[in-house]
Symmetry: C2
DNA sequence: AAGTGGTCTAGACCACACG
DNA sequence: GTGTGGTCTAGACCACTTC
């Protein structure tokens, strides 16, 4: 009587807070608008800052908020749909005309263990590592390393190996790769956390949640190349549509 | 001299801790093995428990650890590859023979806002909501709600509407759906956090990270149904392969 | 210099699983 | 009951951006 409802299964404060904030974002804030700072929000809701932060973290994970050190917390725009592989239709090599990626660098180095396993090479074999970036709407949304089996591109054209511009070497490797015939590919998506170098490129802090898309490119000889692409999980929705009606899904 | 290296860009403690733990997991622990408890680990590394937990959280996010309240922290097995839609080849309706899902329940209710938009119905229109679950290796890995446009399945066979068994009604709706011709589909993947009901089904706490796979099924009349499937992000790697060579990717 | 979010501490209590 | 992870507090200091 007169008491508020007894919660038989009490909800954690941060969970309730998240709901309240989420509703407020829908009704009282516009995209890009800046929220009150964490200390004030915590005071306003009568919780410790750590608890408030737990709620904000979840909302950021869901792509509702964007936080930047030294700046503040802003309301994030809806996630952008990013087309990942048009599975239907003929498969294409990475770097085919019209793809969304920009070659950035190239080196010859051993691949990480997981990639070594897929390429079927020895652990210390130097493979081509082509670094590429992907922009969408003026924002860097993904960073990729394409590991090319040395048998796929055994030698670069004369002189190309000494080319000092990494992105030029990268494009050369891709061009050489296109001489092979692509017979198939498969692709996996999983959750990961950004390594330090990827985090820098994606303008995030190390450990930020990312969607890792691993693609295996098969030619007649087996796995010719493996791509590991790292997408910002907060801002991206990966799209595997076979048609181009992505517009209907947006907003 | 004699000093340890001065870190010009000091690494956060929890980040370093994560690296140390990750290496230890590779070299000193077997899958399923139980780690020392958080209070002891924190003491052993000379950090506060909250800091230690920050490192454990990341490792859990990456699928390296599994934590259960009242039990302890164990070393997680490698993520299981879960086949999601064989994009290539003919598309099929959900519930086609041989698919990995188990119908659980059915009700008629309004759909969430995002689904309403895709189905192109009014916000308060009651649609079929078919709940399904997906097991892999004895573990529940995903929970799905399939929203079926009322025009796609306007009426159930006589008597089926009064059937008290929800899973039987669910199977009936799927069967009726199969009478339509499927002309296309598209699919998106994004990061989300588990709602309370999904969390319970997936044996996780609310807010646990999940991969949300949204599939739109197109028939001649437009969007006939929309599926929202929620996969455990810690234990699953979604596979979009067109062949069945998933074995080469595993382990 | 001032203000923001990011890291860290040292405690406390709670919910849950298990013997 | 005992031990585990989960939640929460009230502080402190740091790294970064902006003015």
């Amino acid at each position: 009587m007169g008491t508020t409802q007894l919660e038989t299964v009490p909800e954690p404060k941060y969970w309730h807070l998240k709901t309240v904030l989420s509703d407020a974002l829908d009704s009282e804030f516009a995209v890009g608008e800046i929220l009150p700072n964490e200390r004030e929000l915590a005071a306003r809701f009568g919780v410790a800052r750590a608890t408030l932060r737990q709620a904000l973290e979840q909302l950021e994970l869901e792509g509702r908020l964007q936080r930047r050190r030294g700046v503040g917390t802003t309301v994030a725009p809806p996630r952008v749909g990013v087309d990942v592989g048009s599975e239907a239709g003929p498969h294409t090599w990475p770097g085919a005309p019209g793809d969304a990626w920009q070659a950035e660098d190239h080196e010859r180095a051993p691949a990480p263990a997981a990639v070594v396993r897929m390429l079927g090479v020895a652990a210390d074999t130097a493979v081509h590592a082509v670094r590429r970036g992907r922009m969408t709407g003026g924002q860097q949304v993904a960073s990729e390393v394409l590991y090319v089996h040395p048998d796929s591109v055994p030698a670069l054209p004369p002189g190309a190996d000494q080319e000092p511009d990494g992105s030029a070497r990268a494009r050369t490797v891709l061009r050489e790769l296109h001489r092979l015939q692509l017979v198939g590919q498969d692709r996996t998506v999983e959750l990961g956390s950004a390594r330090a170098d990827d985090a820098r490129r994606l303008d995030r802090l190390p450990g930020a949640p990312v969607l890792v898309v691993t693609t295996r490119y098969l030619s007649e000889g087996g796995t010719a190349a493996v791509s590991v692409a790292t997408y910002r999980a907060d801002t991206c929705r990966l799209s595997f549509s076979d048609s181009e009606d992505v517009s209907l899904l947006a907003s």
